[in-house]
Amino acid sequence: MDKIFRVDMSALNCSVEPVPSAWAALGGRALTSAIVAEEVPPACHALGANNKLVFAPGMLSGTTAVNSGRLSAGAKSPLTGTIKESNAGGTAAQVLARLGVKALIIEGIPKGDGWYGLVVNKMGVRIVEEKELIGKGNFAVIEALEKRLGKTGVLTIGPAGEMKMLAANISVRDADGKLRSHGRGGLGAVMGSKRIKYIALDGADAPAVPLADPAKFTAAARTFAKAIMNHPGTGQGLPTYGTAEMVNIVNAAGGLPTRNFMHGRYEHNEKISGETLRETIIERGGNPSHGCQSGCIIKCSQVFLDKKGKYVTSGLEYETIEILGANAMIGDLDVIAEADHLMDDIGIDSIETAVAIGVAMEGGVLPFGDGQGVLRLLREDLRAGTPLGRTIGSGAGNVGKLYGVTRVPVVKNQAIPAYDPRAIKGIGITYATSTMGADHTAGYAVATNLMGVGGGIVDPLKKDGQVELSRHLQIATVMLDSVGLCLFIGFPSADDPTCVPAVVDMLNARFGLELTPEWFGGLGVTTLKAERAFNLAAGFTNEHDRLPEFFREPLAPNGAVWDFTGEEIDQFWNF
């Protein structure tokens, strides 16, 4: 039977509790958001004793369902002040599910200035004092824990989390001993505030996840995998080019943020494109198609080597490549890959940090295109926590305020990622209305705006249909985030009628339930409304669902402007 594992860092004790019936049919984001909404006072300080850090594996995590190993992390975000759910791949969700951990709730703050680690195994959670790893980067933590405990699952924070930087992330060990990240919203700072350096997940002797109807599960899992492989997005595009496939696409559409969101096209786009990334990786003997978790059949990740054939990074994403490459105008995959590695090791969100660097460039901290300057900033300032490093590490919004920049791409103080909302308006509605602050993954309208995924193109340059599109996607994305599915399952879900019924069949076969596809719609609505209610109680209003003023200025080459009125945006919440 699944249990709730609860850790009280104030009293330094742990308990294992039965799952309350209201949470029994939940997992992933639906569960972390339900727990945060119920147990965290919305007006609390996100780095204070009243905030809680919650981890929940997806409902299908730990099973043989492909691409089902996403782990949700939830809390009140110190960056945005809103509720936050950030999910990641890696091995942690699968181990937690096998250990029967429905959710791990960490509350309170210890007295004194000591640091701790948590060791989770089938008996429960043990709190251990930690000295040796304090100040160390994430890769050193992974290596040390492997020596101490063997190949366990690991959640860890780097120096950024220890220093409670608002862009600090929580890293997850992947199957190769590298990292994935709960990147957005500063959850690494929440973990740091609780003085937890790492959480080791020991799945030794843990049984397989029980299935109510194994035969039905296997049949549905096969249909599900087939739907993923048959869709051109998940079966061909992502495995071939990774997410960087979007560089040339978005550049062609005139929505590629360039020079801190000044232009919509970058003249050196080919230097940082998915096509060039693939060629470079193959030429150097790296791996252009690599999974972030066992059981991944999309394999959008990759292993990037330097010119001498030495490992640099994996999971080099479109967002990181675009924001450093075009928006900060670095235009050099080797520098970007090195920066990605440094950000992983320091434990800082590569979206928030990269956008913050673009704002800092506009503020005169360093010139646009200064790749070596960015590497120096990461190595010497971010890692050491100098005043400049802490400034950049506190996110794009704060950098803008400190350097008097008016072109600051944030919503609810979270950085806008690598799609300009003037030229791809559907994603602009998601940025504006998401309960998480600006987040492209909350309702990825880009695929419908540019490629017509889900039944035809919704013209990215027009307002028509964008609010409805974003609403539909944000409700549907709760399903993916709660089941533990990779975001990209959204593509076959939208286009292949066999996909969502197969997910429902797997859930029913796993838990012995009789859910219908409509149940997902209800889960999405309930979860979004609970998250929104938390934000309203924390002091947010409709006026926070707005894009920054500078998006009213035309964007070359299409001359597109952000022309939604507040009233039009507010229609989003009419459901």
């Binding site: 869709h231 051109p232 595009g237 997410t243 496939e245 979007m246 062609a252 490629m451 593509f491």
Partner: protein, 75 residues
Amino acid sequence: MIEVTVNLLATFRTDRFKDELQQVCEGTTVGSLVSALGILEKEVGMALVNGRHAPMAHPLSHGDVLHLAPWIAGG
């Protein structure tokens, strides 16, 4: 004859080209140019003329820039 710049993205480049200035007859549409490249219309995920979505029946004009991409879903 009119001149059109054709940009191919992702797998459309394989055994073809990255970008090329092409001379085509007046009245050439996006669809007829796609066929001339040996690409099936149903394989096209995104066709942009001068940065804006265009249907297959859209007639090309002198100086147009065409981007063609296969079905790619996102990042």
